[in-house]
């Protein structure tokens, strides 16, 4: 039986981990390779790097970082941020990424998803869906896609978008609630579930996790195949092992070995 994946997400900028990883004593808390190794040892099921470097010129720094990580860690690695062209995907995959997450390029040009999936296979194309609830209190829930860290609205319905990118070849959806991101109030379960029940591809729940119960809810109630978390792992609030135990205690399948 396929196991629920627990995925730590590291924000990186100019080849460094933003805020650093503090759950273990690393010689250099900002070194992405050191951080990746620590999560590998901690039993993480995958690792995601989200590059938030503003400039697109320093792509070489990111590629070098991915290369060094892939050489040191024999675990699946997803890289997102600044992916605009087929060549960006090719460069990341050649550097050692297993999956590449695209957004907002997918929003601006949906043919890009199709082109990418046909070239590299749907298994390595993740589409990041950043959504905000736009319905009012008492109305049936509705979410729309937002880009640029939730600042720019697009007017695109999140569920319709999810369905469309999957039909074009997205192999996985990374669903982030922009309402919940950074709040530690838990994933937007209704959003996660609405999308997970709509598409046949795996959904990764993201945005807002603050407790282990939130992770359990993301899978049990949100029907996510994987849960992504950042600060609660980096700052050592919980370990990956504790997260797995919590899922297991809730009767969900996890990989303990």
């Amino acid at each position: 039986m396929l196991k629920t994946r627990i995925i730590p997400c590291l924000d990186v900028k100019d080849g460094r981990v933003v805020k650093g990883v503090q759950f273990v004593d690393l010689v250099d808390a900002g070194d992405p390779v050191e951080a990746a190794k620590a999560y590998d040892a901690a039993g993480a099921d995958e690792l995601t790097f989200l590059d938030i470097t503003a400039s697109h010129e320093d792509r070489g720094i990111l590629l070098d970082m991915v290369r060094r990580t892939a050489e040191a860690c024999f675990m699946p690695l997803t890289v997102g941020g600044g992916v605009r062209k087929v060549d960006d995907i090719r460069a990341l995959l050649l550097a050692g990424a297993d999956k590449v997450s695209i957004n907002p390029a997918a929003v601006n040009d949906r043919r890009f998803v199709k082109e990418a999936a046909e070239k590299f296979g749907d298994q390595c194309i993740v589409v990041a869906i950043d959504a905000k609830r736009v319905s009012r209190e008492g109305e049936p829930p509705r979410w729309e896609i937002f880009t640029h860290g939730g600042r720019r609205e697009t007017g695109i319905d999140a569920l319709a978008f999810a369905e469309e990118v999957v039909s074009l070849g997205a192999g996985e959806l990374l669903v982030t609630s922009m309402d919940r991101d950074g709040t530690k109030a838990g994933y937007d379960i209704a959003l996660t579930r609405a999308i997970a029940d709509r598409v046949h591809t795996p959904v990764v729940a993201s945005g807002g996790v603050g407790t282990l119960d939130h992770m359990v809810a993301g899978v049990r109630d949100g029907h996510a195949s994987a849960v992504l978390a950042a600060s609660i792992f980096h700052f050592g609030t919980y370990t990956v092992g504790q997260a797995k135990q919590a899922l297991r205690d809730a009767g969900l399948p996890v990989r303990m070995t």
């Binding site: 039986m1 396929l2 196991k3 629920t4 994946r5 590998d40 099921d45 290369r67 892939a70 050489e71 040191a72 024999f74 675990m75 699946p76 995959l93 050649l94 550097a95 050692g96 990424a97 297993d98 999956k99 046909e118 070239k119 590299f120 296979g121 749907d122 298994q123 390595c124 192999g171 996985e172 046949h200 591809t201 795996p202 195949s225 994987a226 990989r255 070995t257």
Partner: protein
């Protein structure tokens, strides 16, 4: 000892190379691991690895595009009996045919078709992506010392198609995703794994170490 990992433009092979080097170190084997698209290098190597990611037809096209590579593989693996490991689509290419988007001929070393996974439970997701345990159907040297079964080690899978072998005896291990999915096949000096040993941490490094020691 020397191992050639065949480079035919199908994805990153650097992490695979590193994983083979590390497994060799851990097994105490002096091993040169070379990533190469040169049939001469493949012909010289004592062990041959065929990786592959993406779509079946694309991979077949890529392999055919390297002059002399398929002929070299047939000569070294089929005639000379060198130990061979196919990984992911590299394993699928061992089949007779791939039925992904279009029907494409495989190498026909492991009779059977590569077909889309159809889980009995429609709520199960495709691609089959993530960690799953192996159910060993029969013993094999590549699984030596690897705990299988529901409480065993896990392998990392990411695929939407799998090889359905015509001869049940070719299937060494399956995994469950709404039905049995072929995880590993083997016959004589040839083995293939649907999962990614280079991404499968403990299980992966152990399996690669076994492959390096394998005397079929």
């Amino acid at each position: 000892m020397s191992v050639a990992i065949i480079d035919y433009g199908s994805g990153n092979l650097h992490s695979a190379q590193k994983a083979f080097e590390r497994a060799a170190r851990e097994a105490g084997l002096a091993t040169a691991v070379e990533v190469s698209g040169d049939p001469a290098v493949v012909a010289r190597a004592e062990r041959i690895v065929l990786p592959g990611v993406g779509a079946f037809a694309d991979c077949r096209r890529g392999l055919d595009a390297v002059p002399g590579m398929v002929e070299t593989l047939v000569e070294q693996v089929r005639r000379r009996g060198k130990p061979f490991l196919g990984i992911c689509v590299g394993m699928q290419l061992m089949a007779s045919r791939g039925l992904e988007y279009v029907t494409t001929e495989g190498l026909d070393w492991m009779p059977g078709d590569v077909v889309r996974i159809r889980p009995s439970d429609p709520s199960l997701k495709i691609p089959h992506m993530g960690w799953n345990a192996l159910d060993a159907r029969r013993p094999h040297a590549l699984l030596d010392g690897i705990a299988t079964g529901p409480d065993g080690l896990h392998a990392y899978f990411v695929h939407s198609y799998h090889l359905t072998a015509s001869a049940p005896s070719d299937v060494v291990a399956t995994t469950d995703h709404g039905g049995a999915i072929t995880a590993m096949v083997a016959r004589d000096n040839m083995a293939g794994v649907q999962f990614h040993p280079e991404k499968s941490q403990t299980l992966g490094l152990a399996l690669i170490g076994n492959f390096l020691r394998w005397r079929p």
